[in-house]
Point group: D2
Chain length 388, copies 4
């Protein structure tokens, strides 16, 4: 558990980082929601702020005066147990509150939080909720990057977000296969530092012998799959995946564009030529699985990934695993509204491990369990193979 002093630093840095991410935007970029998965940046700014007012200031700061009685519910997301909320698909239809209003709201709440943190000795429960609030905001920082990329990258004008932001970190070394022996291993979070409920309980698992790659699959490798007709061979795909690629006419990773016969990729630096060395990204589980089938290999389970992760570099792509997102043995859902955080998503999703170029540097760890639906591609996803 963090000390109150360390928490103050974490809180200040987190709030500042969020605003830094948005500093590259035009006002109009904060407003739109081109698909349901994407939220308008102004919603993220308001929602992460609402979280502190709702779950911290309302609970632990009796003198706190609400910034605005009527508006806050706009920023509730999925906490069904906490009052009304704006339905998710409607977020991009709201021009008000304005961006300026939301920055005022942020400033007011940040200030109120700092007063609380600086002037009162808080108990463990309160400190715990504030720490969750910081990690919650860090999650939204990652979503801000991916949602901004969607908003700009699906605009026919392909505007640049930030010329300095390099998404494509090259792994220059050769592929090697790390061998892990059969046996009982322990996985899950097992220290007093922060983790989410879904990383608990730490527990034993039995693994059979496997070999896992030290590097991610690259664009060049994925192009081979495409050239070999991978997107056209029904036997490589799950039944639901095949329907999905037919219905949406999928034939390359997301953000790829063939221009005058050459593959280009939209990144936060704008539209440019595809770099064959870079790890493939914006790929669904369905595509990762089909590629593995084509190779005669498979994806790791999340347990295999976690046990082997000390032996390879990770952190630039969220990595798809074969594991469905389920509760660990001994998992307990927290009480109250915060109990809605993770458990209710434990169906029809796949676990991803690692982190990405969009992840706040102190926000991931080797036990972190991210999760998405198998068709989703707007995150900085990637994958590595297991060869048994």
């Amino acid at each position: 558990m963090l000390s109150q002093e360390d928490l103050i630093q974490l809180f200040k840095k987190t709030r500042a980082d969020t605003e830094k991410i948005c500093s590259f935007l035009e006002t109009e970029d904060y407003v739109v929601q081109p698909i349901e998965d994407v939220s308008p940046p102004k919603w993220h700014l308001g929602h992460t702020t609402w979280f502190f007012e709702e779950f911290v200031l309302k609970q632990y700061s009796p003198s706190h005066k609400l910034f605005d009685e009527n508006t806050a519910y706009v920023f509730n997301s999925y906490y069904e147990s906490v009052g009304d909320k704006v339905i998710r698909t409607n977020r991009g239809n709201l021009s008000r509150p304005t961006v300026a209003w939301i920055y005022e709201f942020r400033k007011y709440i940040t200030q109120a939080m700092l007063e609380l943190l600086n002037n009162r000795k808080l108990d463990e429960e309160a400190l715990g909720v504030i720490e969750i609030g910081c990690h919650h905001e860090k999650q939204h920082q990652e979503l801000l990057y991916t949602d901004i990329k969607y908003i700009l990258g699906n605009n026919p004008l392909f505007p640049v977000y930030n010329k300095q932001f390099n998404e494509n970190l090259i792994q220059k070394y050769h592929r090697e296969w790390i061998e892990i022996e059969e046996g009982v291993y322990k996985i899950g979070h097992d220290s007093s530092s922060f983790c989410y409920d879904n990383e608990l309980a730490a527990h034993k698992t039995y693994l059979h012998k496997y070999k896992i790659s030290n590097k991610l699959v690259t664009n060049a490798e994925f192009l081979e799959f495409m050239k070999d007709g991978g997107y056209q061979d029904v036997l490589l795909w799950h039944a639901e995946a095949w329907e999905w690629i037919q219905e949406h006419d999928i034939n390359s990773p997301f953000y790829w564009h063939k221009i005058d016969g050459e593959w280009h990729q939209y990144t936060l630096q704008g539209l440019g030529k595809l770099n064959p060395e870079a790890p493939v990204t914006h790929i669904s589980y369905f595509e990762a699985f089909a590629y593995a089938q084509w190779k005669g290999m498979r994806l790791p389970t999340e347990e295999e990934w976690e046990v082997a992760q000390d032996n390879f570099e990770w952190g630039s792509r969220w990595e798809w695993t074969e594991s469905a997102y389920s509760p660990y043995p001994g998992y307990e859902k927290p009480e109250g509204a915060l109990g809605e955080y993770n458990g209710k998503f434990m169906v029809n999703q796949k676990v991803l491990r690692g982190g990405s170029v969009a992840t706040s540097s102190d926000h991931t760890r080797h036990t972190y369990r991210n999760f998405f639906h198998p068709h989703q591609r707007w995150q900085f996803t990637g994958f590595r193979l297991v060869n048994t």
Copy 2:
């Protein structure tokens, strides 16, 4: 036909009026598109400007330099024969070009148009297209009002557009029934002044004797229909209307809200109590028809409306008629892209006559034929009855 001097005045006033309408907006209000029928205000600003560049400057001003080669197509609407276009439902997903960019675009094109108009004697064809462009922009002024009303009026915060804008013009006089004799009448546009292609040819029609109301149906009258169970009595409704009210749970005119047992209405002045004297508005053809059935009366045909209109006040509500939108005898579709203007909508729509509080003062006339689908309600619609 207008002289070139008069046209310059019309053009300048039209361009200024559009910007006046938008002067009450926040930047964010320009961007959103909550339903397909509504376009973002920034799109209207760009589209009316694109029209002049595409159909006037490109054709008649050889030295004209395009403001931007790549961006203009974003503002094409439905001219299928003129290059690519952004699909209608996608307009609200585009944060770029920005509002500031669009005002630059407007300024540049307004300037280029005025240079053309001031420095060159234009032929009749060119003047005709410019006059159409002005009337086209006036149509979009009306849409700006109704789309802005939708954007603000469907925001849970109910923001005010302009406290001075009074939608509800009261007709204080008593209801009287104007009697029109059976016989052959002439309708349609029959002068050299501007009209749309769909108002031609002027032609004869045979009318049977009828009596038409001198005033519109009011909120108080419509409330009686509601109290009498009008929305629940299947026998009053068209089959498609009944499906529509069931599916969308329709039980009052649009923008009505029952708050603490009392009816309120959102107007461009904000949320307030319903004024029973005001003409009912934001009503579909389906509802107008059901009301007439309940009264044992009917809606006028467009011919009946036009023949009688000298005898009553009109202009605050677009008035639904019983007439389907069809070509007049002798109708001829114009050549080329401008021929896509009206004719291609002549199916599954109903004619509305009159004009509304949102209509530019010099934009309507007694032969004007507006048209909407029978379920649409986001316009300032209303109706009057015929009692045969």
Copy 3:
């Protein structure tokens, strides 16, 4: 008005004709409903029988014992004011009651009706309802043909309905243009014989001079339109039509199949080569309109068709007109459930005139107003042109 004796003959013939049409079916053919527009033949058999029990025997035969208390509601169609009904799209999901049950039901009701008609002198009201019941069943005879054609013609095995049934009556004479002078004409039903409410009141109308073709557009002529790229030229189509042909990938009349480079047509005689001389059929209003645009001509209004019809042969194709389906001047909706018959469909539909090869010989007349949505094609539709 028919005498009671004539009505008995009409009733007996109508009931027998319906069963004759179904005599070519397998039990399985009675059950399916491939699209919402099509009803299972067993439903038609039950529904036309239910009509006589509900509106005649229940009202005028006090001693009548219901055939089955629980089952009849399955056969209610759209009479919202008469109890429950099975939703339309669900008709093809009901395996019970069986076909054998329905034939028992028919026999029982036919018998009960004949006893009533033979043994009691009925008043005008009762006779009127029975006459409507007969005409109602004749309408369903036509629907039986078209629904059976859909059921068999969309089966990949293309089964034959009846080798003797010739749909394609050739008009061997040359095309001529019948000229009608400008003036006031009278249209609508104007005798004491049977008609539907929508053919009333007979009334005057003003027509401008026009020339109408003495024959229908043929397959050969329609093929020229197709060869000239008619389905690809956006300027020929209504906006809604263009969306419809894109969405459904429409590029020929319905039931046409290109096999080894040659056009074939499914008819109730099975699959065969397209006869170029036959009038084109299974065509939507949208396609008829686009063809007329391409020819530089137009479709007649229903008034033009009715005034000219003495001068040409008609009856093998329902003919699309330009007229939207609206009430005639002086139209009055009948009281009670039978008032739901026609009036509630008077929106978003186009009028068709004439009759078809599937129409019972005594079921059409020159004032008859049929109506369908502009995209519908499963009827034996066709069209003739007006050349002004």
Copy 4:
């Protein structure tokens, strides 16, 4: 592996059993498809027959003459790699081939198979495919029961299938909790007898200590959950489950009907009062999970179920587990079309264990892995709890 003699017996019994199940149907019952999940019984009859012609007779019986060149493809289901197929949702629209035709087809293929089996010594590969064919047909026997139940149970007349068929086997004993110790266990199929590919490889797994119920949750117990507002408490449900119950207005298990204030249940014996002692059935994973949450317990994983299953009775309900359907360590997809059998469904589905009253007596075993989507309810599902 079965001997050829035993396989002949298995084949004959399987074919006869299928026809026995259908012997209670009317011809019309064979035809309809009320929802996509349900196939028409005549399709099952044809499909299981097509399997033997396609994968056995075409491959191993060179002299085999196809029953019908054109029709067989109608009965392909999901073997994308074997030619055309009729799209699944279209099965209920096909009145042809008729039921009589399909029984002829069955007879012909059964005969040809028996000639092959009786007159030729077949190799292991051929025998293996025939054994799969028999098990495949047994799976369709189960689907026949559940699809017939859907077809009849969703008919408003609630027809009886078979008065002798008792679905509700009561577990009369008290609930006890079987305790299993922590440790490494072996699961998966580990003998030479028949199993599906998804039961392999047999492998080790690590289980933590748990207690599992010796009996299924009953109707009476589930009613307590309902009375306590279980369907209304958002905190008990997965996010996707909550959307699903809202959208489909789910508030009881499937086939339950409240009539005059009392719960009834449709079974294959017809509509009757709900038996509180019977195990709850036709329940989704979502509902089973919510019930477990409400109890403060959880569902077993498939490994926990398999390890404990010797200690309790099972076989009347397919039992939901918490486990997502994934490949076992060492899983290998078979080559060719039969490889499409199981692997391609290993995403977004939950594993069920056990078997049901509709399962052929020799068709299940303790390693059998059934799988459905978490919302599906038309199978005879149920569940037991784990209490850690």
